[in-house]
Structures are given as structure tokens and as C-alpha cells.
Amino acid sequence: MTLLLVEQFLNGLQIGLLLFLLAAGLTLVFGIMDLVNLAHGSLYMMGAFFAAVLTEWTGSFLIGALLALPATALLGIVTEVIALRNLYTRDHLDHVLATFGLILFFNELARVLFGVGGMAIPLPESLLTHFEVIPGLPYPTYRFLIILVGLLCAGFLYFLVQRTRLGMLIRAGATNREMVGALGVDIKLLFTLVFGLGSALAALAGLMAAPITTVQIGMGDNILILALVVIVIGGIGSIRGAFIAAVMIGLVDTMGRAFLPNMLGTVLSPADAGTVAEALSSMLIYILMAGVLILRPAGLFPAPGR
């Protein structure tokens, strides 16, 4: 039981950290530019597809992944310059609508470029092994790697946002955009840079999730909603909030999926219990969000000045 608990905790942490990578970019874009970017999930998907194709070409997952990051960042920057830049002064409804259009576009583009069937990213042999976290509990090395990369990224973002000049501008931008612009900072460039960074983070989440699931059209649509839930719970513009909320949601979702079927199994048949448990644990996330918003309408860690 303890072993199962530890294993599920690690799984939850892993999903939570993937969510964090996606949500971090989203919350930065949202916090600084006040832009609701539904197409963030599409960048997640495109990142995974790029990685899949590049892995196939180069024969190495590592090189493919490292090339996919700048490729997606570039795609994000192009999207920002062409389409999204005009939307900053508009209201949220326009953002939702325009980026909804972008989702449709990217999904179809992926279908045209990469085919309907989706792709798989095979892992190198060295990552297919297991690793004993605590005695008696072998855990897949790759999943462990995801946790490690996620934590490293969280640390890197913390350093970037809290300790560097760029991070200072990002924080200042989230608090008062006009003032930062008035002080002579090239806000446009800052926006574009942050958007590129967010895209790269989304791609990182996508390509790391890809070997576990598969790379497919629309893979970003559902996780995008989860990432939105994360940034709303965490407080818009707050990296720290996004981190805590993402891990919280990852744990709730995984624990629900792992333990609810057994609990329900006492009253329902196993197959039915599975169906109900899956729906219930998905619902738990939204109940959590509704609860947080009703108690704290601006999320757990709202950026100051908003």
C-alpha cells in the first residue's frame, strides 16, 4: 500500500510537472500581455510533432528534442508577430475567438503535414530501464527523468523571474504594463521574447509527454483546459502559483484515478467502477477550481497590482 502510494505520488508529480511546463508559458503570456492564448495547446502539439519528425530524421531523441525546442519557439514568435500582436488591446472575448481559430488552423495543419494517424516517439534503450527509487519499487527511468527536467525547469524559471534583469521586467510587466513601457523598455520585444519562451516550454512539455502517450492531432486541446485551470487556481501571472496548482492538480487527478476504482469497486462492478472513477477524478479537478475561485476569486497567488 505504501509502495503504491509512493508510486502514484511520483506519477502525480510527473503529470503535475508536465502541466506546470505548459502552464508556466501560459501564465507568463497571460500575466504580462493580458492575452488569453487558447492556442498554447497547439504549440504543445506542434512541439511534440516537431520532436517526432526530428527524432526520425536524426535517429536520436535527444537531438530531436533539442532541435524541436527552438523550432517551436520560432513558430510561436511567428504566430505572435503575425496574429496575436494585434489582439493585446482587445478584450478577452476577442482573444478567445481568435486563438480558437488558431487551434482549428494548427490542428488541420498538423493533419496535412504529419498525417491523421499520429506518430510515436521511440525512446532510446538507455531510457527504457527501471530505477529503484526506494527498495522494492522499480520506477521507469524516463518518468523519473520527466520529474527531474520539470524540477530543473521550475528552478530555472524561478531564477529567471526572480534573479535576472529580464525576470524583473517580466514581473514589472505583469504588475503594470504601461508603466514599464513608459520607462523606456521595448515592451513589444519583451512580449515576443516571453511568447517564444512560453512556446519552448509548451514544446518541452509536449515532447516529453509524447513517448508515454502518442503524438496526435488535438493532443493539446484537453491538456490546455487543465493548464488554464492551473493558472486560474494559481493566480494569473504567478509562476509560483502555477507550480503549486499544477502539482496539486496532478496529484488529485492521479490519486483519484488510482484509488477511486477500488473504493467504488465495493459498490459497483469493476468495469462500471472504472468508468465512474475516471469521470469522478476528472470532475474533482474542476470542483477544486470552482472551490478555490469561490473562496479566492483571483486565485491562490495573484500577481500584485491586478
Binding site: 472575448l93 478567445v96 481559430g101 482549428l104 488541420e108 476528472s282 474542476y286 476569486p297
Partner: protein
């Protein structure tokens, strides 16, 4: 939120074109019989049903300024009420329909009570989250098919008065309900209640200072809209003989917002224009190529960038010519498509998408040239 003028339904052009469109829709069964094309009737039944849903969303989104991103939930609730009752052998419409309407109204009451306390993006996200709850409820309802959905074996029984299994009768029922929905919306937004609602959209603090309980007004509008959308749900379940969680997936809610904004928010006939344009474009583009969304996505983006106020806005701004040309082109496209069913190469479609993106760049440079956004 938005600075669009109130009560744009007074615009004669819109009213004229809108009424003409309603009458034209009423003539669809005649055309379908003349052309011997039953599919046309099926398509336009869907158009009319989605128009009802879009009109209901417009009441809160367009007139009330409440961006509900979970409106498809009520389509699901209305549909599931009919489907579940039919599954248990209760086919009487006088039980099914009231249960479905009251069910969606109650759901709207609950969702509204929780979400209307928040504003802006938090409202958008909370309505989305609560609609997702309903979606997963449908997913987990294993007794009613869960993820796979449920087939409705027998349509609602009006005691022999209305025969819903007849396609034309069903179409006319939907059409009459659309007209009723439009009429009801017209009465609501021009009544004192509607004025308060629109006032609260422009400035809710001022309305509160004037002594209006804004929250209660908004909640009432929210419940009315939810109930009307439940009606669309009943009709959807009836004409597809099928319910599934997919009918309340969040992208369906997105589609509804698209219809309302494309047609023109806060205009009586706007959502009707939007629903007709959306579904006909979908029909035409998807028959040309399976990759139709690669064109449709950029179209949406362009509508947001260029055509503020949607089709209705274009008419009101005096660009009636463009709007009419657009609508006429659309119908011509449909006719051409109908006469010469042909497969277009996807590359041509991709090119069209590229041209649109280039137009967007050109527009951006012309608009922002040298100025800091």
C-alpha cells in the same frame, strides 16, 4: 467591456435582412421537395437548431456582456433529459420537454450562482470549468452509454398531435421555435429588464448605484438563456436520435461563441446570421476538402481582426453591401457546390489559408505602421 452601441436591432437593414433570412429558412422544405434533396432538409434543421442555441447565448453574451464559455452544457442537459427518459420508456413529450427545460434552467441557476460572482477571465474560466463538470458527468454516466453515448429509439410523442418522425414536421417545429425564441429575445431586450441588463453590461457600478440588484438581473438572464439553450438540446437529441458527451465538449461551446460573434453580438438577428454562415461554410468547405478548418481558422482570426461587430456590425456601419455580398456569395457557393460536387486539392486550400495570413500581415503593417502597440 465593449463599446458597441446598444439596441442595434433598431437598424432597418439588419431587421430587413434578418426577417428575409427567417422567411427563406421557412421555405427550405419546399426547396428540398422541389430539388428532391432530403439532405438539404437535414442540414438546415441543424442550422435552425444551432441558431436557437446561438440566440440564447447572445442574450447573455451580447446583451449582458457575460462571456459564458460553457453554453454547450445546456445542449447536453436538454438532450440527456430527453435521452434518459426515452431510455426508461417515458416518451411523452409533455413529460420529457418540461423536465429537460427545467433541468437546464436549474443547471443554469447553479452555474450562474457560482460563476456570476466573478468577473472577466475568471468568469470565462469558471463557466468553462462547470461545463466540464457536466461533460464528465455525461462521460461517467455508464448506465447511459458513458463516453459512447446512447441511441434514442423513439422520438418524443406529442399524443399524435405532432409527428416528429416526419422530417418536414420536425423542421417546421424547429423553425417555429426559432421564431418564438427570436420574438422572446426581442421582447426581453426591449423591456425594462433588458434595459437593465444592457446597462449593467456598459457599467455595472452605475446600475448598482441606481439601485438595481445587478446580480439578480444577470442571474435571471443566465437562467433564461440556459433554458432556451436546453430547448436546442432537446431538438438536437430529437433530430440525431442520439446523445453523447461530445455534444457538450468545450469546443462546442467555442463554436457557439464563434457563431454569436461572427454574426454580431447584441443584435437580434446577429446569431442567426452567425449560425447560418458558420454551418454553411463548414458544409461547403468540408465538402471541398477534409482539411476545411485550415481555411476556417484564419477566417475566424480575420473576422476578429477586421470585422468588429460581425456581419451585423458590417451592415450597421453602412457596409451593408459587403455583408450582403458575403451572404449572397455564401448562398451561391452552396448552390455551386450543390450542382457540381467536386473535390478540390488540399493544396489549393492551403494556398487560400496562406493568402489570408498574408492579408493579415499587410493589415497589421498598415494599421500599426511605426506606432507602438
Amino acid at each position: 467591456m465593449s463599446q458597441l452601441p446598444l439596441l442595434r436591432l433598431k437598424s432597418p437593414v439588419t431587421t430587413l435582412v434578418g426577417s428575409a433570412l427567417v422567411i427563406l429558412l421557412g421555405l427550405v422544405p419546399v426547396a428540398a421537395t422541389l430539388l428532391d434533396d432530403p439532405f438539404m432538409l437535414t442540414l438546415f434543421t441543424r442550422v435552425v437548431i444551432m441558431a436557437i442555441a446561438a440566440v440564447s447565448l447572445n442574450l447573455i453574451l451580447g446583451y449582458g456582456g457575460m462571456v459564458s464559455f460553457g453554453h454547450a452544457a445546456y445542449i447536453g442537459i436538454g438532450g440527456y433529459a430527453v435521452g434518459i427518459l426515452a431510455h426508461h420508456g417515458i416518451n411523452e413529450a409533455w413529460i420529457q420537454w418540461p423536465v429537460a427545460l427545467i433541468g437546464s434552467g436549474l443547471a443554469a441557476l447553479l452555474i450562474g450562482l457560482l460563476s456570476l460572482r466573478t468577473k472577466g477571465i475568471f468568469f470565462i474560466m469558471l463557466t468553462l470549468a462547470l461545463a466540464q463538470l457536466v461533460y464528465y458527468l455525461g462521460n461517467g454516466a455508464y448506465a447511459y452509454g458513458g463516453d459512447d453515448g446512447l441511441t434514442i429509439l423513439q422520438r418524443s410523442d406529442f399524443g399524435g398531435l405532432i409527428d416528429l418522425s416526419d422530417k418536414e414536421t420536425l423542421f417546421y417545429l424547429c423553425w417555429v421555435l426559432l421564431v418564438l425564441t427570436l420574438w422572446l429575445t426581442y421582447r426581453i431586450v426591449n423591456a425594462r429588464f433588458g434595459m437593465v441588463l444592457q446597462g449593467a453590461k456598459s457599467n455595472d457600478r452605475r446600475m448598482a448605484t441606481l439601485g438595481f440588484p445587478v446580480f439578480r438581473y444577470r442571474l435571471t438572464a443566465f437562467v433564461i438563456a440556459g433554458t432556451m439553450c436546453g430547448l436546442a438540446g432537446i431538438l438536437t437529441a430529437t433530430y440525431t436520435d442520439f446523445i453523447s458527451p461530445a455534444m457538450m465538449h468545450w469546443t462546442r461551446s467555442g463554436d457557439l461563441i464563434v457563431m454569436v460573434v461572427l454574426g454580431g453580438m447584441g443584435s437580434l438577428f446577429g446569431p442567426l446570421f452567425g449560425a447560418v454562415t458558420f454551418l454553411l461554410l463548414e458544409e461547403i468547405l468540408s465538402s471541398w476538402t477534409e482539411y476545411w478548418k485550415i481555411v476556417f481558422g484564419p477566417i475566424l482570426l480575420l473576422v476578429v481582426l477586421f470585422a468588429r461587430g460581425g456581419i451585423d456590425g458590417a451592415m450597421v456601419r453602412g457596409a451593408a453591401g459587403y455583408a450582403l455580398t458575403g451572404l449572397v456569395t455564401l448562398f451561391l457557393m452552396y448552390i455551386v457546390h450543390y450542382l457540381w460536387y467536386d473535390d478540390w486539392v488540399p493544396t489549393a486550400v492551403v494556398l487560400t489559408g496562406a493568402v489570408m495570413v498574408i492579408t493579415a500581415i499587410w493589415y497589421r503593417q498598415r494599421k500599426t505602421g511605426g506606432r507602438h502597440g
